[in-house]
Amino acid sequence: MAKPLTRADGPQSVPALLQRNATQFANAPAYREKEYGIWQSWTWAETHDEVQALALGLMNLGVNEGDFVAVIGRNRPYLYWAMIAAEMVGAVPVPLYQDANAEEMAYVLGHCGARFVIVGDQEQVDKVIEVQEGLHQFEHLIYLDPRGLRKYDHTTLHQYSHVQDQGRAAYDEYIKELDRRIAKLDYDSTGVMLYTSGTTGKPKGVVLSNRNVIETAKSSSEFDGLRQTDDILAYLPMAWVGDFIFSVGQAMWTGFCTNCPESAETMHVDLREIGPTYYFAPPRVFETQLTNVMIRMEDASPFKKRLFDYFMAHARKVGPSILDGKPVGGWDRLKYQLGELCIYGPLKNTLGFSRVRVGYTAGEAIGPEIFDFYRSLGINLKQLYGQTEATVFITAQPDGEVRSDTVGVTCPGVELKIADNGEVFYRSPGVFVEYYKNAESTADTKDAEGWVATGDAGFIEEGSGHLRIIDRAKDVGQMADGSLFAPKYVENKLKFFPNILEVVVFGNGRDECTAFINIDLTAVGNWAERNNIGYASYQELARHPQVMDTIQSHVEEVNKSVAEDAMLSGCQVHRFVVLHKELDADDGELTRTRKVRRRIIEDKFHDIITALYDGSKSISTETEVTYEDGRKGSIKATLEVRDAKVVPVARKMAAE
């Protein structure tokens, strides 16, 4: 079935790939979704019919070539089809983050001038209706789930299945025109437009051509030997480039099956049921899962726990080597097999990783312990480094060369160079066309020769050729004495402790570094429960003296390890506070992908930062918070400022 696919004059657009799959893999599963407790599935042939019906329906509603069609909702086959159908009719699909608030949504819809919006359910419909006043080009809204929408005015509101029905009815009228539009698509036509969440400023619309999408999908699929029989679980935001490339690009190229969970809450159960062979998750997800395993083992019977500890120790010793195909003694191998039977196998099954052949993590640095834990179980977890502007892939780790501290070697077709200030530049077939309606930013990011600035500082390791990323280029600063300030580097080291969820390190232009810390409520809460420590809220737990002591010991441990690296030893954390609230995307402190927004935090908590540097022992503060339903409130707290031990280093000028 999965015979090698050759490119020469192959399909030049995503719709063309769909047509190819509908003939070549007609009866193989293309999409699955769990609904009403059962996995529903569609073959490639059925998928083609569904997409075509929607495309015809869209033409019937008047979608023109060059229009923008926004797609908002959780991962569902219908919404993936919506994107493909949009491209079929010559329009540009624009997936949006479903948890974006009305304001963010209004900006994006207005910026691209979407005439059509296709959404999942009432919640999204309400949001779009709320902002439609300000959108001049917006015309039609199509929704998937009719629940709660019956009473709405349906003059410009349409049910997805009705649009498809009308499309099927108008088959004869539009099919010729549709075929003409599909035939017109080529490598240079736009495949998708994705808005970057943007750590600063307004989101930018990254235009990706079919060339970007298909070339990247092709080379990355070959890099990891993806097959037509693979299964992937699509659960990450559809607006994120990674999901588009995995669930649309690679899925279309290799013809594997995209599985959509029933809802965000059932994701772990669904993961176990599907048992994907190709899996991507940000470090946070792996971290949470590991934390859950550890919590459950704490509660297990002593016998089970001892068995677990024994075999996990053995797995850590030999597991990664076995996975990398390095020589391992016969006895160790046998013991590993026994462990597979008793512990690793059942554990992988519980986690849903039994069948994972290729697993990736990216986006943030992953803790070495976490990374090694999964690899020692025999899960081929690897790291990659990518960006929306690169259509994901810049570097990735080949099988057998996997380490937690690098992001791998350049992907096929990618060139790398490092600028004098340490910033990483790349050039590849995946390099984006432009930022939509933003020539200035395009020029800032991509030079005439096609080199794109990543905004990250890093270096290529001698010998192995692996890329190592230190931090965001703009965040790498200088301390008052001129030594290097790399906050992310320190933050990541701290975040590797399960008790710590989020860290923000300050120190640019100052004499010493300080930090804000968020504890991990699950891990610390569980610890508190086991030790009979009562707490009513996050805030109360966060200021418990024993919690503070634990965090302090973590900080001091990190200081020791930071001090070992001469270049970065100035980044040791001298003083810290445990924040009274969790940093939250709803309050604008994190991006939607949960990256720290430094400037906003510096501004919002300036009083606490002052306290960190003026030697005070505690600080009283009041902070505004936004509740889930959008209401605002404020919390008051008095925070204890702690001093942490640092390893003395001979002060010297940076670098030289």
Binding site: R150, K151, E262
Partner: protein, 272 residues
């Protein structure tokens, strides 16, 4: 008020059907105490009907009369055009009247799905012998029932806890599961006994949305009891107000809000 047999359309465009249930001069005594004193009101098809009143006003007793848990000493219950004889609760349930309880009565030892499936009991027809000898039909019925249960699970967004034993759920979720079980019976009247009791603001909002959605999506007639006026006024089409076992008001939320007796009852004017 409109004639009892006619339908009418509300301001927000919903169609309210004819009267489906009528309570006529109900009096309920416990020993010498009169919990309900000569109360009459009706419930129309497709509406959300609230019974409100301060604690101890006799609201719960009223709901228990409707659901057959209490038998009133005087008065008549008319249901779908005919007088209902004295009935046991399970017979009332078989007639298509489902209910929830203020203190939650779930099958704690079963999973959520099992609880919802148990709500389908009145729709299971194949008897004991048919089930043992006529496997095909029983299986078909089981599948059909499971489908209804799953649609409701999906509707109330409790898919993630489908297989979880009920005893492990939070209070708010239990309330939702109880609603799911009542809905599984596809009732013609759904009785909710203080659906928002003991919930925080967010859970209350969720529950209100579900109640409205149920009414909207399935057209289910809902009668509910609440002592929290605010929630009820936004939710219901018509409201009966009770105080000390007596009916002191009946009408749209606006009517009731301006009713002097109601205002007095809620502001705690002394009774003489």
């Amino acid at each position: 008020m409109n004639a009892t047999a006619e339908s009418y359309t509300t301001e927000d465009g919903r169609t309210i059907g004819p009267v489906v249930m009528e309570m006529k001069n109900i009096t309920l005594r416990f020993g010498g105490v009169e919990a309900i004193k000569d109360i009459s009101f009706d419930i129309r098809e497709g509406e959300i009907r609230a019974i409100i009143g301060p604690n101890g006003a006799g609201k719960s007793s009223m709901l228990n009369v409707i659901s057959g848990f209490y038998v009133p000493q005087e008065g008549e219950v008319w249901y779908k055009g005919s007088r209902r004889p004295s009935m046991r609760p399970y017979q009332v349930a078989e007639q298509g009247i489902a209910r929830t309880f203020q203190n939650i009565a779930l099958f704690e030892g079963m999973s959520v799905l099992d609880n919802v499936m148990t709500g389908r009991l009145t729709h299971m027809n194949t008897g004991l012998f048919a089930q043992s000898f006529w496997k095909g039909k029983a299986e078909q019925e089981e599948i059909a029932n499971r489908e209804v249960a799953e649609k409701i699970i999906d509707f109330l967004e409790i898919q993630a806890i489908r297989k979880t034993p009920v005893s492990r759920l939070s209070y708010g979720l239990k309330k939702r599961v109880e609603l799911a079980r009542a809905l599984a019976a596809e009732p013609s009247i759904l009785l909710l006994d203080e659906p928002m009791a003991g919930m925080n603001v967010e859970e209350k909002e969720d529950m209100s949305r579900f109640i409205l959605d149920v009414n909207d999506e399935f057209g289910t007639t809902i009668a509910l009891i609440e002592h929290d006026m605010g929630v009820v006024m936004d939710l219901s089409d018509r409201v009966v107000v009770m105080d000390y076992g007596k009916k002191i008001g009946d009408g749209t939320p606006d009517d009731v809000r301006n009713n002097q007796d109601v205002i007095d009852a809620y502001l705690g004017v002394a009774h003489d």
